[in-house]
Symmetry: C2
Subunit: 667 residues, 2 copies
C-alpha cells in the first residue's frame, strides 16, 4: 500500500506534467495543496465517481481555480470519467480539461472558478442551499439532505472583497457544514505577500463568527486530519482551516517562490522534482498501486447505494415530500406555474404602476406555487420590492425560510446565487439597484458562463429614480448586460410586460435573466391577444399606423409610454408612425428572420429609438441614419420629471426627431 | 456660547428641514452623526472655508454619502460658499446640493460618494497620497505636506467588499493619518442588521493592523474627543473609531429604526423632533450665536496663512522642490513630456511586440520625467508589465516610492486611485486583466463622474490570451467601457498606437482613460507622417485603395493586422478596400463631421468591422447592412492561434464577408 506522501505525489506529478505538456498553466497550487487534497478526498469526501450528479454528494470547490490540475488529477485518480488522455489535452480546444475548472466540461467539477474569491462565495451558496433544502425536506429519522461543502482557496481569494461579503454572511448564518481550506503559502503573483497582504486571517474570520483552525502544517497528513475532525465537530459555524504550505512543493529550485505559480516548471525542474519527491515514473505514468490507493469507486457506489436505500424509506414514509424533492432536484417547474395567466390578468387589470411594483405582484402570485424560489436583496428589500407576502427570512436560527437578507453585498449575493443554482433544488433571485449591478457584474457573467439560472431584479433603472442623482442613475449598465453572452435582459414597459418577463425568466432554466424595472409608475398599454402573445418574442408592434408607416419608434420600459404619446402627436400631424415595444433585445434577436422583418421591415429605415440609457446600443436597430433619444452623459440629482425634460425625453423632442428624419429622407 | 449639543442640533434641524422640503432624502445619518461631526469639525478639522482648495487642508469624506445633508450643513455652518438658499434647493436640478455629495458641485466636497464603501477607499487613497507626497517633498524642518484624512462611514460601507480591500491594504501600509468614524447604529435599509451583519468589526480591523477605539458613545462629545486624541496619537496605523449612535437621533418616534433612514420624517415628526431637541426655531432658521459657534473662517484663514508663511520658508530653502510641488499640485504636466517623440520613435523602431510590452516601453521612457506617476497593479505586475524600471514600491517602511502593490484587489485599487486623484499631486495608473475590469467598474465610473484622471492598464484584452479560457477572456468589457460616459478607451493596434494612447491618457488631465492591451505580439504597421498624426484623432485611414474603395474594413487592436492581411488578399482579387484603424471610438466620435466623413464616407456603406470583442457596438459604424466579425458568445480554453481560427478571425473569413457584402450590394 502506497504511503500518503506517494499518493499525494501522483497529483504533483500529473500536474507538473500536464502544465509542462500544455506549455502553460499553474503547477504551484496543485503541488502545494496535494497533501491536503489527499487527506480530504481519501478520508472524508462523500462522492461517487460513477455518478457525479448524485444529489447528496459532498461539494468540492477549488476557488483558486488556476490550480485546476489539482482537481483534474483528483477526478482522474479517484475514478471519474476523465482519462489520462484528457489530462494530456490540458488547456486544448474542446478538451475536458480547460485552463480553469469549467462547469459542464468535466465530470465532477461543481462550479466554474478562476475569477478569484467567487468560488469561495459559491461554496457559501452551496452550503446555504444544502441547509435550506435539508430544513425543507428532512424529517425525523430521515436526513436525506446531508452533505458538506468543502472549498480550497488561496491568498488571492482572501484579498478579494467578495471573500469578505460571502464569509461575513456565512458567519452570520452559522453555516456549520461549510469547511474552507486556506492554502497559506505566502506567495502571490507579485511575489512575497508581506508587502501587500498582512491580515491576521484567523482573527479576521473569528470576527465573522467562524471556527478557525490556525497554523496547520499543510504537508502533514495527521495535522490535516485532526483539523478536519475539529472542523466537522463544529456544526454551528463554518470552519476555516489555515494550512501553511509551500507553493510548488517538491520542485527543488522553484518551490516557495512566485516562479512556481503560473508557468511550466521546465523540463529540468520537472526532472529535479521527480528526484526530490522520489517519483521515478515516466510523464503521465501512474503505477497501479497508486491508482488502487486512490480509487473511490467502490466506496462511492456503496455510499450512493446506502443513500438510495434511505431515500426509499423516506419515500415510503413521506411520498409527497419525496416526489417534490425529486422534482426540485431535477429542476422541473411545477405543473401549475401560472405565468401566462398572470400576463392576461395584468392586461385585464390595466394598472398604471411601477414595474418594480408589478414585479412584487408577480412574486405574490407565483410564489405560493414555487417553493423553490429563494429570494433576496442586497439590503434594498423595501425599494426592490422583493420581500413578497410569502417570504420568510433564513437565519442561523430559522433554516427553512425562502429569503436571504444578503446585506449590502451585491457581489457576494451574485456569487452566492451561483452556488445555490449549482447546488440545485432552488431558483434564486436577487435584487439591487440597476446601477449597482456593476458591483456584481462578474458574478452575473459567471452565471451566464455556467448556464445557471439566476434571476436579477434590478430596480431604479434610469434617471427616472430622480433625486438620488448620477451615482444612482444607470447609463452604461443596460448595454453591459445586453453584451454579456447568454444573459437575457428584459426592460418591461408596464405591468403586463413585467409579468411576461418574470414568466420568461422562470422558464429559462439553464441561463440567467436580468429584470430591469422602474422606480416610477408606468402607464398601462392596450394590447389585443396577438400582441399579448407577442411580448414573449422580445419585441413587437404595440401600435401600428393605418397607412403604411413612414417611421418606426422603438422603445423599452418607461420610454414606451413616451413613444406612444409621441406617435399620437405625430398622427395628429398626419404622420403614419409605428411603435415597437422591445422589452428584450436578445429574445427579439433570437426570433426568425420573417418575424423580425414583420416588426422592423428593412424598407422602413426612418427609425427613432428611445431609451433612457446609453445611446450606443441602438444603432443595431436604427442603423447609421436613424435617431436615438438616449443618454450619452451622466444624470443629475433632481425630481424625475425635471430630469426627463432636461435630457430630452419629451413628446416635443421625439416628434421633432421624427420630423427631421422624415424631412432628411425627402431631401 | 451655545452648548455642543445645541451646535450639533443645527445640523439635525437643517438636515431634517432640507429633506422635508425636498420630499426625499436621508435624515437618519446626519441626525445620528451630528455630535461626532461637531467635535471633529470644531475641535480638529484643519480647513479654510474661504479656500476649499488649500492644498494642505485635512480631507473629510462622507462614505455614507446618502447622509449628504450632514456635510452640506457643516459646510454652510462653518462658512463655505453654501447659502441657506442652497440648502433649500437640496436635490433640485443644478443646485449646489445634490442628493449625494458630488465633487465639483459643492465647495468643500472632496469626492463623490453614494455607492457604498468607495468613499472609505477614496480616503485610503487620500491618506496614501498625503504620505507619499510628504515623503517626496518634506524636508527636515519643513513639514509642508502634513494633513489628516477623516472619513465617516456606516454599516453599509463595512458590508461592502471594497471596504475589506481598501482597509486591509491601509493596514498593511500603516496609514497613521487616516482616521475613520464608524456610525454603528445597528440599522440598515432592511431593518436591524443583526439578521445579516454580525461582524465583530473591532476585531476585524485589528486583524487588518488598524488601531481601533471601540465602544465610543457617539452622542457624548467628551468620549468622541478622547477617541480622536487616541487616534491621532497612533501615527503608525490607521484608526477606526467605533461610535455607537442612534439613527435619526432626536426624532422621538422614528429614531433607532430604519424608518429614519431614507425618507422625510414628515411634518409631525419634524415638529416633535424640534421639541425633543429643544430646537425652537423656524425651518432653516439658525440663530446667530449658533452660526458664531460654528464659524471657522478666522481659524481657517489663520491656518492657511501660517502654512503660506511656512511654504515661503520652504521655498527659500528648497526653491526647486517648492516649484515642483506647486506644479504637481496644480496638475500641470512637465514641460518636457516626450509623448509625441515616443510615437515617432515607435514608428521608426517598427517592433512587432505585444501592446502590453509597448506600454512598458512607454512607462520606461516617460516615467523618468513624470515623478507624479503613481502606478500599480492588482497583483499582476509581471503580466500587466506595469512595474517599469524606475518603479519603487511604497510600503509602511518606504514612503517615497511611486508604485503600489495593490494585491488582488481590483475594486479597492480603482477606488484608491480615485482618492489619490482627488487628493492631487499624482497621476495614478492601475492595472489588471481586462476581464476583471468588472470587479472595479463602478470605481472607473466614479472617476469619470468626478472628472478625475486615472489611467487603467487593462491587458490580456481578448481570446488572444489563450489557454486561461473564458473566465479570463473579455467579451462584453470593451463595450461596457465605451458606454461609460466621460471615459476614454483606447485599444491600440501596435506599439505606435500604444504610445499615442499613453500620450492621450496623460494629457487627459480631467478624466479617466482605459488602455486595452494585448497579451500577444502585434504586427507593426507602416504609416506616413499624416497617418502618424491622425492616430490622435481616434480613427484614421491606415491603408487606402488606389481606386475608390468599394468596402471599408474597420478594426481595432489585434485585429488591425488581420484587416490589413485581408485587405491585401482582397486587393489580390481585384477589390478596392480601405482599412480604418479605430483605436479609440470616443476620440473619433469627438472629431468634426468633415474629418469623420473623410475616414468613413457616408457613401461607402459596404463596411466590415473586425474586433475580438462583443459584436453589438459596431453597428454604430457599419449600420444595419454591414458585417461584423466579432464575438457573441464566450471564449474557450486553447492556444490563442486555435481560438482566433475557431471564432472566425481569419483572412479567409474576412475576405468571404467582404465578398458576400459586395455581392449583396450588386444584387
Amino acid at each position: 500500500m502506497p504511503s500518503r506522501f506517494e499518493l499525494a505525489n501522483a497529483i504533483r506529478a500529473l500536474s507538473m506534467d500536464a502544465v509542462q505538456k500544455a506549455k502553460s498553466g499553474h503547477p504551484g497550487a496543485p503541488m502545494g495543496m496535494a497533501d491536503i487534497a489527499e487527506v480530504l478526498w481519501n478520508d472524508y469526501l462523500k462522492h461517487n465517481p460513477a455518478n457525479p450528479h448524485w444529489a447528496d454528494r459532498d461539494r468540492f470547490v477549488m476557488s483558486n481555480g488556476h490550480g485546476s490540475m489539482l482537481h483534474y488529477s483528483l477526478l482522474h485518480l479517484t475514478g471519474y470519467e476523465l482519462a489520462l488522455e484528457d489530462l494530456q489535452q490540458f488547456r486544448q480546444l474542446h478538451s475536458k480539461t480547460p485552463g480553469h475548472p469549467e462547469l459542464g466540461y468535466t465530470p465532477g467539477v461543481e462550479t466554474t472558478t478562476g475569477p478569484l474569491g467567487q468560488g469561495l462565495a459559491n461554496a457559501v451558496g452551496m452550503a446555504l442551499a444544502e441547509r435550506t433544502l435539508a430544513a425543507q425536506f428532512n424529517r425525523p429519522g430521515h436526513n436525506i439532505v446531508d452533505h458538506y461543502s468543502y472549498v480550497f482557496l488561496g491568498d488571492g481569494c482572501l484579498m478579494e472583497g467578495v471573500s469578505h461579503e460571502a464569509c461575513s454572511l456565512a458567519g452570520t448564518q452559522g453555516l456549520g457544514k461549510l469547511i474552507a481550506f486556506y492554502d497559506s503559502n505566502g506567495i502571490s503573483i507579485d511575489g512575497e505577500i508581506e508587502g501587500w497582504f498582512t491580515d491576521d486571517t484567523a482573527k479576521r474570520f473569528e470576527a465573522y463568527g467562524w471556527h478557525v483552525v490556525p497554523n496547520v502544517d499543510g504537508h502533514k497528513p495527521e495535522e490535516i486530519k485532526a483539523a478536519i475532525e475539529l472542523a466537522r465537530s463544529h456544526d454551528d459555524r463554518p470552519s476555516l482551516i489555515i494550512c501553511n504550505t509551500i507553493i510548488g512543493f517538491g520542485a527543488p529550485n522553484k518551490q516557495g517562490s512566485e516562479e512556481a505559480h503560473g508557468a511550466p516548471l521546465g523540463d529540468d525542474e520537472v526532472a529535479a522534482a521527480r528526484d526530490q519527491l522520489g517519483w521515478h515514473h515516466a510523464p503521465f505514468h501512474v503505477p497501479e498501486d497508486i491508482y488502487q490507493g486512490w480509487d473511490a469507486s467502490a466506496r462511492g457506489s456503496q455510499a450512493e447505494n446506502d443513500w438510495n436505500a434511505r431515500f426509499e424509506r423516506y419515500q415510503a414514509a413521506h411520498p409527497e415530500l419525496a416526489s417534490e424533492l425529486k422534482r426540485r432536484l431535477k429542476g422541473e417547474l411545477p405543473v401549475e406555474l401560472k405565468g401566462e395567466k398572470l400576463i392576461e390578468e395584468a392586461q385585464q387589470n390595466g394598472e398604471n404602476i411601477a414595474s418594480r411594483k408589478a414585479s412584487l405582484t408577480c412574486l405574490n402570485e407565483l410564489g405560493p406555487s414555487l417553493p423553490e424560489l429563494l429570494g433576496g436583496s442586497a439590503d434594498l428589500a423595501p425599494s426592490n420590492l422583493t420581500f413578497w407576502k410569502g417570504a420568510r427570512a433564513i437565519s442561523r436560527d430559522r433554516h427553512d425560510g425562502n429569503y436571504l437578507h444578503y446585506g449590502v453585498r451585491e457581489f457576494g449575493m451574485g456569487a452566492i446565487m451561483n452556488g445555490i443554482a449549482a447546488h440545485g433544488g432552488f431558483i434564486a433571485y436577487g435584487a439591487t439597484f440597476l446601477t449597482f449591478m456593476e458591483y456584481m457584474h462578474n458574478a452575473i457573467r459567471m452565471a451566464a458562463l455556467m448556464n445557471q439560472q439566476a434571476i436579477y431584479v434590478f430596480t431604479h433603472d434610469s434617471i427616472g429614480l430622480g433625486e438620488d442623482g448620477p451615482t444612482h442613475q444607470p447609463i452604461e449598465q443596460l448595454n453591459a448586460l445586453r453584451c454579456t453572452p447568454n444573459l437575457s435582459t428584459w426592460r418591461p414597459a408596464d405591468a403586463v410586460e413585467t409579468a411576461a418577463a418574470w414568466h420568461a425568466a422562470l422558464k429559462r432554466r439553464g441561463a440567467p435573466t436580468a429584470l430591469v424595472l422602474s422606480r416610477q409608475n408606468l402607464p398601462h398599454q392596450q394590447r389585443d391577444r396577438q400582441q399579448l402573445a407577442a411580448i414573449q418574442r422580445g419585441g413587437y408592434v404595440l401600435k401600428d399606423s393605418d397607412a403604411p408607416a413612414e417611421a418606426i419608434l422603438i422603445a423599452t420600459g418607461s420610454e414606451v409610454g413616451l413613444a406612444m404619446d409621441a406617435a399620437a402627436a405625430l398622427e395628429a400631424k398626419g404622420k403614419s408612425v409605428r411603435v415597437v415595444s422591445m422589452p428584450s433585445t436578445d429574445v427579439f434577436d433570437a426570433q426568425d428572420a420573417a418575424y423580425r422583418e414583420s416588426v422592423l421591415p428593412a424598407a422602413i429605415t426612418q427609425r427613432v429609438a428611445i431609451e433612457a440609457s446609453h445611446r450606443a446600443y441602438w444603432h443595431k436597430y436604427v442603423g447609421l441614419t436613424g435617431r436615438i433619444v438616449g443618454m450619452s452623459g451622466f444624470g443629475e440629482s433632481a425630481p424625475a420629471g425635471d430630469l426627463f425634460k432636461h435630457f430630452g425625453f419629451t413628446v416635443d423632442n421625439v416628434v421633432e426627431q421624427v420630423e427631421q428624419l422624415l424631412e432628411e429622407a425627402v431631401a
